[in-house]
């Protein structure tokens, strides 16, 4: 079972985002993590590989040179190899462009049964890359996968999250899955994993290495401006002599002011 996991580094979810001139202020981004949904994909991939008892997991990631450290954390968790896509032309990619680059890299890696990635990045929340990627690779795509029931022999049965429940899907392999938070918590890298990570194959490829012309990667969408969510209003304590009175007042406020009931 050879699995390719597409992962990227994102700002730590605890980051206090600051906005400057209508865009995210890069100065506020100082701690980086593996995108949490990609981390679910890594955990599932590790379990699949270990259950199969053979095969390898290749991480494919687009990012600046500094992203190397985050990618190596994926190796420390137990993935086998990494391909880091670094090029000035990759700096302002939108999801469509990212999918083109990933598809080209995946084709170059070759020989895989499954491509797994997070259903969205927690940085810009597009939720598009995996879908485009499946299209470029000409493969079936299952989104929001929460559990793999059965896999092997060119076929897989997986559960995906749908509003209010789960849907059981059968697909041929190879396929592209995007991960939603499932039952399995991503593991911590062990000290041995961290020590071993630097000895694992790590390749760095440019646009030219994967046969792409930077001209074809121009974004088709543009972020015009970013605004912070409005400040939360202070809470309000409902006054009244008795519990019944307070409940009546609360119900009135919910109906007349908040208009939610």
């Amino acid at each position: 079972m050879n699995i390719i996991v597409c992962m990227k580094r994102t700002p730590d979810t605890a980051t206090k985002i600051a906005v400057k001139d209508g865009q995210i202020d890069p100065a506020c981004l100082d701690t980086w993590i593996i995108n949490p949904y990609d981390e679910y994909a890594i955990e599932e991939a590790l379990q699949l590989r270990d259950r199969a008892g053979e095969g390898k997991i290749t991480l494919v990631s687009i990012g600046p040179p500094e992203a190397q450290e985050t990618i190596r954390k994926g190796l420390a968790m137990g993935c086998d190899e990494a391909v880091h896509l670094v090029d000035d032309a990759f700096a302002g990619l939108d999801p469509l462009g990212a999918a083109k680059v990933l598809a080209a890299a995946i084709q170059k890696v070759g020989d895989f049964d499954l491509v797994y990635t997070g259903w969205k990045g927690v940085d810009e929340d597009h939720g598009q890359t995996g879908i485009y990627l499946a299209e470029f690779l000409g493969l079936p795509h299952v989104s929001m996968v929460v559990k793999i029931d059965d896999i092997g022999d060119g076929e897989a049965r997986v559960e995906r999250e749908v509003e209010g429940g789960h849907e059981l899907v059968r697909t041929s392999l190879p396929a592209v899955f995007t991960a939603q938070k499932g039952e399995n918590e991503p593991r911590y890298p062990t000290l041995r994993g961290i020590m071993g990570a630097k000895k694992k194959p790590f390749q760095t490829w440019s646009a030219a290495d994967v046969g792409l012309d930077p001209a074809g990667l121009q974004p088709v969408q543009e972020i015009l401006s970013v605004t912070l969510p409005p400040q939360r209003q202070a809470g309000r304590i409902v006054e009244g002599e008795t519990v019944e009175e307070k409940a009546r007042e609360l119900a009135r406020l919910l109906r007349e002011e908040a208009k939610v009931i």
Binding site: E69, P189, L191, I194, A197, K198
Partner: protein
């Protein structure tokens, strides 16, 4: 001197931080209250490699350097100092001594399971009537053919109630005082060994501490660590390493207390302004930050000096004592200021600040009190022996 961290050191710090914040912080108050040993998180720490960080992989450890150990100790202790105590005793007191002084057979049998975190190790020097002055210990080991027969009572054994193996220091030649102490590796499950009273403690309450009683406890000669009479040297050189660990524990406690104080000072209003706007509070925070930074530099310096000293066979007693002395007194001072900044809430069990305050105190006592550290440092200053 270059203290910048390598990628690996950063990754290990991050791992310890993630683990500590996700797995230890949520259970710390509960275990502090009940005094129950946190077996589950300690087991997980073993699986990650945190119970034998510096021991080479062939003996079950992580094979990393002292700075990695320092960084991990700091992060774990920042979440809960009791976990830090258990980790530090296992890493620096048990594993380090066995790795340095053990025979190949002893390492195979006792180091591998403890360094890999499968079982817990302890270190037992102190007795009811002998603490700072180890030369007066009353327990005895008498040679009888291929065995030693041990009798006596040891006190304050951290992890004693759960340890499978204990590094025991006892007298084989009382008339020689320090030079009559010998080290042994004790298997706790055997006849003649019994747990004594469990110590009810002010702080680090989840790190189980008890007395251990030996009554005609028989131990094969093969379980002696080093030669007869080498025990004191082994105990003291092991504490050189241990004190770097305790200094890191103190640093973690100080950081936790400091960070809580900064956050609280910005949030808490009095007289129409955040208390952080009062100069009296600002100066406390500034002093806290400065002493913490100084502690960190002393600890990193001790860690790097140790790395070099291990190559050359030299000791690093002075650096390690200075780091332990300064960091532990910083932890106590910072925790005291943190309680003050929190006012009444600093005295309440609803916040962890009072726990930091209770936990900080131990770092000034065990592995050599502050007075003993000053004695050790003064000896190196004055050039005595």
């Amino acid at each position: 001197m270059d203290f910048s961290l390598t990628e690996e050191q950063r990754m290990i710090r991050d791992l310890a931080r993630d683990f500590a914040q996700n797995e230890i912080v949520p259970i710390a108050a509960e275990h502090d209250e009940s005094g129950e040993f946190p077996a589950e998180t300690i087991r997980k720490m073993g699986e990650l490699g945190l119970m034998g960080i510096e021991i080479p992989p062939e003996y079950g450890g992580g094979g990393l350097d002292t700075l990695c150990y320092v960084l991990a100790m700091e992060e774990i202790s920042k979440a809960d100092a009791a976990h830090g105590t258990i980790m530090s005793v296992n890493n620096s007191l048990f594993c380090h001594a066995l790795y340095k002084y053990g025979t190949e057979k002893q390492k195979q049998k006792y180091l591998i399971p403890v360094a890999s975190g499968e079982v817990v190790g302890a270190y037992s020097l102190t007795e009811p009537m002998s603490g700072s002055d180890a030369g007066t210990m009353r327990s005895r080991a008498v040679r009888d053919g291929d065995e030693y027969v041990i009798n006596g009572r040891k006190s304050w054994v951290s992890s004693g109630p759960v340890a499978k193996y204990i590094l025991l220091f006892t007298m084989t030649a009382p008339e020689k005082k320090h030079h009559g102490i010998t080290a042994f590796i004790v298997e706790t499950g055997r006849p003649g060994f019994a747990h004594g009273k469990v110590e009810p403690k002010l702080g680090i309450r989840a790190s189980a501490t008890c007395e251990c009683v030996y009554e005609d406890y028989r131990l094969p000669v093969a379980n002696r660590l080093g030669e007869e009479g080498e025990g004191f040297k082994i105990a003291m050189s092991t504490l050189d390493e241990g004190r770097i660990g305790i200094a890191s524990q103190a640093l973690g406690i100080a950081e936790a207390a400091y960070e809580a104080s900064v956050a609280y000072a910005k949030e808490r209003y009095a007289f129409g302004q955040a208390i952080a706007d009062f100069q009296a509070i600002q100066w406390k925070l500034a002093d806290m930050a400065t002493r913490i930074e100084a502690s960190r530099l002393l600890i990193y310096n001790a860690a790097l000096t140790k790395e070099r000293a291990e190559q050359s066979g030299a000791r690093y007693t002075r650096e390690s004592s200075m780091a332990k002395l300064y960091a532990s007194e910083t932890a106590m001072w910072v925790a005291t200021q943190a309680v003050q900044i929190h006012g009444g809430m600093g005295y309440s069990k609803e916040l962890p600040v009072e726990r930091y305050f209770r936990d900080a105190k131990i770092t000034e006592i065990y592995e050599g009190t502050s007075e003993i550290q000053r004695m050790v440092i003064a000896r190196s200053v004055l050039g005595g022996k």
